[in-house]
Amino acid sequence: MALLEVRDLHTSFFTDAGEVKAVNGVSFNLDRGQTLGIVGESGSGKSVTVYSILQILAPAGKIVSGSVKLDGQELVNAGEKVMRDVRGNKISIIFQDPMTSLNPTYTIGDQIMEAILLHTDRTREQAYARAIEMLELVGVNDPEKRMKQYPHEHSGGMRQRVMIAMALACEPDILIADEPTTALDVTIQAQILELMQRLQKELGMAIIMITHDLGVVAQMCDEIVVMYAGSYCERGTAEEIFYNPKHEYTKGLLRSIPTMDTMGQKLQPITGTPIDLLNLPKGCPFAPRCDAAMKICIRQAPEQMVINEDHKASCWMNVKALMDAQAAVEDAGAAEGGEA
């Protein structure tokens, strides 16, 4: 049994302008010690997916249907009491912007200790010791002094370390990192990513990494889910997604980013603009921007297709390829039959 099982998750925001379908049928599994990457551009529903798992959606947001199972326990409609035990204890989250996700009016120490006191039976002294231990673990120098300081006295990289220390203080099974390094410089990003990899090895937790940076995903993730407009395009191992993409959006994304080899060449952008979630098309959400779109893509949303054991994709092109291959085989058979 997987540690976390998300099945056909649908989340919508009910706004004055209408229902915004932010997540439309996302499914994935996460095993212990594994790193899953969720990739997509802004508005693709990657953050809403994990907010749904933790049920920390804005008031207008609701899980419409689907199932989220942690260690076999159903979380959707499980009630606030269960969720309080899950959040910060079994599943922790670090947010994108370390500048705004710490409370400026409390010291670093108070904020880390709050999480520990809330979720464990430790006394204040024990919690203090644990907080110091966590700060040392994430590579903060002089933790006693840092405990008494306020967030504004720390740089962005330091604050993100504090966030990680806070998230890991209760030894969660799953750490969700929502664009953890987007606001940081590359050399600091490298430090934080390395820290996360080291801690994962030491503590054995699973990580869900949300990002739009394909470089970060390539470096960190075992498995990748690619999302577009709330739907999931494909999921598979990092190797499968990067070297054998089976969805036109993933292919376009990989073509459009500059790499070490594209110098002096034209990039191949994905045409058009991102989709309006209020007016989702009937068929594949990517069809309006897809160069390979066929009639069926506009009429009907593609079903998920199993490419191989490590790879699933929702794109009609795969069905077409399969049918073409079958037709070729039949043609060849017919031709042989004719000759005989």
Binding site: E41, S42, S155, G157, M158, D185, V186, T187, I188, Q189, A190, Q191, L193, E194, H212, D213, L214, G215, V216, V217, A218, Q219, A238, E239, F242, Y243, G252, L253, L254, S256, I257, P258, T259, M260, T262, M263, K266, L267, Q268, P269, I270, T271, T273, P274
Partner: protein, 329 residues
């Protein structure tokens, strides 16, 4: 793109930009945002300027355009030093800027045609209303905006389209030189490529010269002919784009390039990063001597004593490090 002309289009000489920061009741300390930076940009080329936040790369761009008055040093444009008000006025018909954030750099109360037309109004570049209208529609067409959108407001557009409006505005005065300050970093990956390609095409069509400021090293490498690296207000390395990636000489450049996550799982996992310790120091108390010495794995006593010269170590490859020869032998 090789330079066709021997005189550089933009010649930045010992540029300094200090901002006073009050540190006490009557005291103020200069924050050395840009400290003695010299470089040249040839006509028709793209110079990439990279560095981490707070290194002064945006200030360099803005000071060149005299949006800030330089504390010291000078900018010579096409052989003419920019000194007086007349110089600046003339210079601003030749050079413009594209800003990072397409959400805050467009006035929400102005229509697209007013935004693009404003530089034309300021520099009185038309003789009749019809001509103004015609120019605006030409500019919109040039950046791939639909002419029907002329009477709309900025909030009706997506990020990528807004950046196109900002680019059309910067093209209004028919400039030769554009400072692009992180023009794609606020955009989605799939839109970035569209805008990068547009910068390429405009350069080919109009013979533009770019100073391209960015922190995404893969984007900079893609678009630039030469790349300059800044650290804490100083320029530490400058070379051809391929040269600086294949043979970085300064320890900071080496670390910066090794830290870039490569979008390819096999390469990314095999990549040996050169980690840097600690954070970038505050520019208010920058280290003595070489600014990088506090994080440099090769720092010696002499690095604390004096700032190394920005020397040309091989043709077109400049580096400011006391130990270039020893480290790279």
């Amino acid at each position: 793109m090789a330079a066709t002309n021997e005189t550089p289009l933009v010649d930045v000489r010992h540029l300094k930009e200090y901002f006073p920061v009050s540190t006490g009741f009557f005291k103020s300390t200069p924050l050395k945002a840009v400290d003695d930076v010299s470089f040249q940009i040839r006509r028709g080329e793209t110079l990439g300027l990279v560095g981490e936040s707070g290194c002064g790369k945006t200030t360099v761009g803005r000071t060149i355009l005299h949006l800030y008055k330089p504390t010291d040093g000078e900018v010579v444009y096409d052989g003419r030093p920019i000194k007086t008000k007349e110089d600046i006025k003339w210079f601003r018909t030749k050079s413009t800027m594209v800003f990072q954030d397409p959400y805050s750099s467009l006035n929400p109360r102005m229509t697209v045609s007013d935004i693009i037309g404003e530089p034309l109004d300021v520099h009185k570049m038309y003789s009749s209303r019809e001509e103004r209208e015609k120019k605006i529609l030409e500019l919109m067409d040039r950046v791939g905006l639909n002419s029907e959108h002329a009477s709309r407001y900025a909030h009706e557009f997506s990020g990528g389209q807004r950046q196109r409006i900002g680019i059309a505005r910067s093209l209004a005065v028919d400039p030769e030189f554009i400072v692009c300050d992180e023009p794609v970093s606020a955009l989605d990956v799939s839109i970035q490529a569209q805008v990068i390609n547009m910068f390429d095409e405009l350069q080919d069509q109009m013979g533009l010269t770019y100073l391209f400021i960015a922190h995404d090293l893969l984007v900079v490498r893609h678009i630039s002919d030469r790349i300059a690296v800044m650290y804490l207000g100083k320029m530490v390395e400058l070379a051809d784009a391929a040269e600086i990636y294949d043979h970085p000489l300064h320890p900071y450049t080496k670390s910066l390039i090794s830290a870039v996550p490569i979008p390819d799982p096999k390469i990314a996992r095999a990549n040996k990063r050169i980690p840097l310790q600690g954070d970038i120091p505050s520019p208010l108390n920058a280290p003595s001597g070489c600014p990088f010495r506090t994080r440099c794995p090769y720092a010696e006593a002499k690095c604390a004593e004096s700032m190394p010269n920005f020397d040309e170590v091989s043709s077109g490859h400049f580096v400011a490090c006391h130990r270039t020869a020893e480290i790279n032998s």
